[in-house]
């Protein structure tokens, strides 16, 4: 797998799997406005995923298009970070995942939009503005839940604690050359949100990874089963 292909594939898979998870909330969110919001954010993620995966297919040069890459790869071939594939959990876990992801994506897209690859820069410049809305939405909820009732505070803190280990993987490896450098500005923004939400930033420790090498959790396999079943049963189906 070439370095460029792997890099763009990781960006596309992060967005695709996040889109699929967020879409699971459709018709199940705590209120109608939130239902629409999460579906809209899922749609933005899906849009970015399609652009990244189309480009990844071209870089690979084996004639695979966005549908081939989304629907006809097995779990071991996906390159998304583990954070996005984890089950949605309760609403606090979903918001925690979105907060960590959206701020990371905005920073990563910001970097890419000024990078040497014009195609990637174009996709990133577009997606960056959307990520800003996603990050703001997640931050507002984090503060509302964290600085809310005893129960909402307890749940939001539990979500942050459970998800924290998975955030390290976002900044590992050379998926985007020097992602490590993004952790500091990410941490600064996250810390500001957690402080305002009266939440405690967890200590760094266990840092599970493997997503970028195709080593995933069982949760991804189940997600893919649902996402891919129609296309695999009826290849090329359209409506």
């Amino acid at each position: 797998m070439s370095k460029d292909f792997a890099r763009v594939l990781a960006l596309g898979d992060d967005a695709l799997i996040a889109a699929q998870r967020l879409a699971e909330w459709c018709s199940r969110a705590p209120e109608m406005e939130e239902d629409i919001a999460l579906a809209n954010i899922a749609l933005d993620q899906l849009g970015a995923a399609r652009l990244f995966l189309t480009y990844a297919g071209e870089l690979e040069g084996r004639g695979r298009d966005e549908d081939d890459l989304a629907y006809l790869r097995d779990d071991g071939e996906f390159r998304n970070a583990l954070l996005v594939e984890l089950d949605n959990g309760d609403f606090a876990v979903t918001i925690g995942k979105l907060l960590f992801l959206a701020i990371y994506q905005r920073l990563a897209y910001q970097r890419l939009s000024a990078g040497p690859d014009a195609r990637l820069a174009g996709i990133a410049a577009k997606a960056r503005k959307e990520s800003a809305y996603h990050a703001e939405h997640a931050a507002l909820w984090t503060v509302r839940l964290g600085d809310g009732t005893d129960e909402s505070h307890r749940r939001m803190q539990a979500a942050v604690d459970a998800l924290w280990p998975y955030t390290h993987e976002l900044f590992e490896g050379d998926v985007d050359g020097n992602l490590v450098a993004l952790r500091e500005p990410w941490l600064a923004e996250i810390t500001a949100v957690l402080d305002e939400a009266t939440l405690t930033r967890p200590a760094d420790g266990w840092a599970p990874s493997g997503g970028r090498r195709g080593v995933h959790t069982e949760e991804l396999s189940k997600l893919l089963a649902e996402m891919q079943v129609l296309h695999r049963a009826h290849p090329g189906a359209t409506w």
Partner: protein, 152 residues
């Protein structure tokens, strides 16, 4: 009609009161050796209306006698609400959709007037409305809910 005039008259499927030219998503129409090449840009990466817009452009050109058509999607530079023309903004307001502020960053909060009664006393119900490009608001004065095109 010229190919450009035909394409410029195509309406946005989600905001049918404005044309794709007024919305700023039509980036160019070129004619060469009988082939028409149209460039469009999405408002949002995942805008589901893009396929419909592409089909509408092809249908409009086809009906106007142009049969060799190519519709390309152009991402750079990224669409911004600043590209909505003055006429487009006026039409949005007249139809009860509050237009976005000019040159507004996401984090900047500006007064949004109710498109029906004109009151500045309005509140945001949700950043995300019926389509990716709109937010949901309510007027505290006349109690009317309305949509607003988000500045991006």
């Amino acid at each position: 009609m010229s190919a450009r005039e035909l394409v410029a008259a195509v309406r946005d499927p989600e905001l049918p009161l404005v044309t794709i030219e007024e919305l700023g998503i039509l980036r160019g129409v070129a004619e060469r050796d009988g082939r028409v090449t149209v460039r469009i840009t999405p408002t949002y990466s995942g805008c589901p209306a893009m396929d419909a817009i592409r089909a509408d452009i092809e249908a409009a050109l086809d009906a106007g006698g142009y049969h060799d058509i190519e519709v390309d999607t152009d991402l750079a530079e990224a669409w911004t609400t600043d590209w909505i023309t003055d006429e487009g903004l006026a039409k949005l307001a007249a139809a009860g959709v509050a237009p976005p502020a000019r040159g507004a960053a996401v984090t900047l909060t500006l007064t949004v007037r109710c498109p029906r009664c004109g009151s500045p006393d309005t509140e945001e119900l949700s950043r995300f409305g019926a389509t990716a490009c709109k937010a949901l608001r309510r007027c505290r004065a006349c109690r009317e809910p309305f949509e607003r095109v988000k500045a991006i």
